[in-house]
Symmetry: C2
Subunit: 353 residues, 2 copies
Amino acid sequence: VAVSSPLQALILAGGSGTRFWPLSRRLRPKQLLALEGGESLLRQTVERLQPLVAPESVWICTTEALAEAVRRDLPEVPPEQILAEPSGRNTAPALGWAVRSMPEAVRRGPIAVLPADHRVATPEAFRATLAAAADIAAGSGRIMTLGVAPHRPETGYGYLEIAPEAGVGGVRDVVRFIEKPDAERATAYAASGAHLWNAGIFVFRGDVFLAELARHAPDVAAGLEAVAAEPGRLAELYAALPSISVDYAVMEKLDSLGTLPLDCGWSDLGSWEALAEVLPADEDGNAVRGPAVAVDATDNLLVADQGTIAVLGVSGLVVVRTGDTVLVCPKERSQDVRRILAELESRGRGDLL
Amino acid sequence: VAVSSPLQALILAGGSGTRFWPLSRRLRPKQLLALEGGESLLRQTVERLQPLVAPESVWICTTEALAEAVRRDLPEVPPEQILAEPSGRNTAPALGWAVRSMPEAVRRGPIAVLPADHRVATPEAFRATLAAAADIAAGSGRIMTLGVAPHRPETGYGYLEIAPEAGVGGVRDVVRFIEKPDAERATAYAASGAHLWNAGIFVFRGDVFLAELARHAPDVAAGLEAVAAEPGRLAELYAALPSISVDYAVMEKLDSLGTLPLDCGWSDLGSWEALAEVLPADEDGNAVRGPAVAVDATDNLLVADQGTIAVLGVSGLVVVRTGDTVLVCPKERSQDVRRILAELESRGRGDLL
């Protein structure tokens, strides 16, 4: 079955995560950071789609606060396709609103929904799997997700349990969604062959998705209908939408969600530690971004956004220096960086958040 | 025996130590830093002398590069008594040159020679011992030194071996100077009752010192004579002086050097670790200067000269943030900070030194 209209990409870029503090800030969240190369994660997300998805077929759903920065970052994406949510209501309203913003003809074709802040080591493999899923979604109308074959017992991701038998084109049925597991269950999942990491990537025909949204989340669909009917009251009506994730509102409830396993060196870059794992390191195991000197120091992540970092006799640390702050913590504690933000907030240092 | 003329203080402030990098720089060495209170170590050195030594009786020997900063730091000291060496030739030439700069009448009285960058916890005790030594030096003409009773087996200091019996006024004869010992000998010295730390503090009559300099270091004395004879060639002739310490050139060779033990909470503040030991700490053992947030972190020294420091889950570290740099090292490695400077120098980053 051939793809009837060009694949669209809908990139969700409204996140305001704090895990890359102090580099990430409220107005410069993770997706706008160049954590690895010289380009932001958002820009890398757009570029790895080419030539499968042209910039004219890219749609971005972000927030009003970030829209201007997103436009500057992606000048080749039509500005009217950079959609700014007036408030954050989680992914079900965001997806519904964005798909409804597309012209009817576009909406009848396949749309890939992609997070803006993930990493892919081999874009060719990523595009091949995405194209295959788009073919299936366009041809059969089925909603597809791409799951990542787990290569370690990760407790930081949600999982998809999949059916033992592959169908036509290698598609596996998703049996159920599983929340982040404990270490014991994660170990079992990683070895089972029946579980994939939920990467938050979906491919569907827009009209199919809206129909499923209306069926499984009628309150969201009705709210979006009200938003569309009164554009002058957008902020007010959008804020009244239920705040709910698309997994919970729609995907878990589908009669038949299909998945194709994705093998492309995927990471969600969920922490400084995760970044350290993918950055190239020197002979002492130090991964360095920006000016840094390391003496008798091994296995550190040193990120100097401004100024120079000098470390002596330390191992396994994250050191991140910005113009106003420096963070120092062991790699394995980098998921807890939000505790520093809470402390700063409580001390009235919102200027650093 | 009464002091015949007011005690003069000659403060040696030409040091360019690197142990407090990155806070200390070539043009802002340790003695000009406010490491503890709000005032520089130099200024604290002057203030702790009062009322024993009035500012009008203070003399500073520093370098040309630092002279302006010293004048700004000590506006109450007569500017003509802030002497700027054209080049560094160690302490024997510096002391001889500075004493010769004093008027004849002043030179016949007692002079206390003091480093500019040490710490004293109890200034009253310090002044009392210094005054007693000045009385002896003025009355008997003897050269005196103040030695610190060791309270730990310190390998970072030189020692004075002293005679077992105290003489008049509690004076002990110095038997010999001992270089920095290894740990075993330091342990023996700390327990012996016959050893004091060499704090580099001397009290003498200026004319007596110059006579001893002429006797034991005739090349230095002759060079200083030449400097005095041709003021127009100061830079050239000063640079030609032998570079030698006053301990080695004069003090070790005296027939009779006396000492009074000093018990005043003295520290030479020789490293970030030494500073951490004297700064007040919070309930988690963190000593903090400037804005800092510590979460699950204990026994760290956090010095933020510019910006904010945030640490999470680390212990026993030194973190020092300046406008252009951050240093991270374990406290016990802080003596090795010069290795970072060597590395920066080799990379052409002299701007950070």
